[in-house]
Assembly symmetry: C2
Homo-oligomer: 342 residues x 2
DNA sequence: TTGTACGCGTTATCAG
DNA sequence: CTGATAACGCGTACAA
């Protein structure tokens, strides 16, 4: 029935027996168009409910006014909160945001990048899969002049733009606190080996031990794929040790949640038999009865906002050198211990 | 430096001294093109790294292969989980998803709808603002043949497509459980008046009281704007009553979180001095020590998936009558009590 | 002050 | 088998 008969500039021109350019200019209030004509045009534009087809304009401008966001999983508060920040900034720039969930799957990540390139987004924000260790799919975007900024889960390279968290600062505070409380045997539950953050955690862990003159003991270092069952296994391994750690650094708050449950299930008491410190600072701690001693804030929102703002710099001033060589964005946010033991 | 010199079909044509149509057909493996020509074309296409400009194709097809999602807030797990489901389905249909956060602000919602229309999305999914009570901005989309499906927070109308939760079924189970446990004074903490769900809650509340031969008492009915401070005020009002309720139906799990905290702060014990039942079934309950007696699952994921699939039916078969009159989607999911008291 | 012509990248139609 | 041309909706340099 209703044919796709959307009002166009052409339609208006026909009705008024003027040219499309006149209509176009009239609609934009161009000074060179006579007042009467302008009014007449605007009048029927109003009447027939004309509204410019942005996608046509974008096509012509060879821009889409859209940025792409690639993240592992929307269901994780960390990422949805980041996305929320991104959308905020994009909206201020009159940009749209399209999303792609990699689901921590490298192949999917590649497909999503491909798709975003096909759609000619004007820029891309990425938080990597835990399995991403090559970056050609992103290189490809350079060919299309599509700027990329990584955040949080970033490649281990120097020729890219990223914003991430320096976990050390907060961790040092936390560690000092543990040592002061008398902990001498401090374990580590780390994440998947391929994640850059995992390596970082080890480094920090070592550094902190050293800083406090504590020995390194491989027995109390375990890791998890981040799957729930694996989290439980990890903590259980530690609990089963003859000489178990009295405190544990944990990859993130989600893992700690499972650890706490497992400790309770084992008939032990959190913060007495064993204490935890982890990374993320989930908003729910506020409501929990049993929490880690401290959590190292990761600033999902700040990270994403900074990344997005830089992305827009690159988009708005192409050729200004942003994102190339010297002015690479390599923003590292100092982390911060949030003390829950008070 | 690098001019926007992306390889196009035209470029290939020039290099080979053939027409663009030949190139186009060769690229698509059209049978009418000679094998040699086809090969030659594909060869340099490969060489110069040609990739079709989808946005040009979409422009020509007058489709964007993009759907819009309008939700109050990405930071709420309920909505991010819904969005996750939407993105999943869209991806299967090779569609993109653009998002808009209304932040529960009616004016923003209008702007977002406008924006999505400007961008000519092929369809829209909406969960309303708590202040939305008029729907002209959506009517407008009809003019552009952009189908709309509402989910969860839906308009109180019959001439639209929606999927929502019937909260009654789960609630009846929960209520039966309360009564069986001896509760006779059951209060209500409701949400903002403008939200359709608020009215629904009252109806259910009344119905359940009646079903169980309990009297209605205005004193134990309060409401909150959903802001934290307001949540606390609401529960405190109930706690301050001479004869306070022994159990309370609460608008949703987020409000309960604040209630529980307030109860503890008042030196009372949850599930002893006062019990709660609410709506949402947050994933974190699993990890909490203090939880409501039960939570009525809202099925964020299911709702959004069903809504999205119907949206694609409308998109894929326009004129098939979907979304008009008889085949309006008015899918109501029966809710389900999740019992946490075991 | 207004109109003509062109370009954005692609596909479809019609001719040859 | 291949090419020229129109069309999608709009903006704009150039011409009148």
């Amino acid at each position: 029935m209703q044919k796709n008969k959307l009002p166009t500039i052409k339609e208006i021109a026909k009705r008024l027996n003027v040219s499309v350019s006149t209509v176009s200019r009239a609609l934009h209030g161009h000074p060179s168009i006579g007042l009467v004509t302008t009014m007449r045009v605007q009048k029927i534009a109003e009447e027939i409910g004309y509204e410019a087809n942005k996608s046509a304009i974008h096509f012509k401008e060879r821009k889409t006014y859209t940025i792409g966001v690639i993240i592992p999983n929307l269901s994780e508060p960390f990422f949805s909160s980041a996305l929320s920040g991104i959308e905020d900034i994009a909206e201020k720039h009159n940009y749209n945001v399209i999303i792609g969930q990699s689901l921590d799957n490298f192949e999917r990540e590649k497909r999503i990048v491909e798709n975003m390139k096909d759609h000619r987004v004007d820029g891309v924000l990425v938080s990597l899969t835990k399995d991403t260790s090559t970056y050609e799919h992103f290189e490809n975007l350079k060919k299309y002049n599509i700027p990329v900024v990584f955040f949080d889960r970033v490649p281990a390279r120097k020729d890219i733009n990223f914003v991430a968290c320096n976990l050390l600062s907060g961790m040092l505070q936390a560690m000092a606190k543990l040592v002061k409380a008398g902990h001498k045997r401090i374990g580590l539950i780390n994440g998947p080996a391929k994640l850059a953050a995992t390596l970082q955690r080890v480094e920090i862990y070592f550094k902190c031990l050293k800083e406090n003159n504590l020995p390194i003991d491989q027995d109390i270092m375990v890791s998890t794929s981040l799957a729930k069952s694996d989290n439980v296994k990890a903590i259980q391994k530690l609990l089963a040790l003859d000489e178990r750690p009295t405190a544990v650094i944990v990859f993130n708050d989600y893992v700690v949640l499972d650890c706490i449950a497992a400790v309770k299930a084992a008939g032990l008491e959190v913060n007495k038999d064993i204490s935890f410190i982890s990374f993320a600072n989930l908003p729910i701690w506020e409501y929990m009865d049993t929490l880690p001693l401290a959590s190292i804030e990761q600033f999902a929102h700040s990270q994403s906002v900074i990344a997005t703002e830089y992305l827009f710099k690159m988009i708005d001033e192409p050729g200004a050198g942003y994102g190339t060589d010297k002015p690479y964005l390599q923003h590292v946010i100092d982390s911060e211990m949030i003390d829950y033991s008070l």
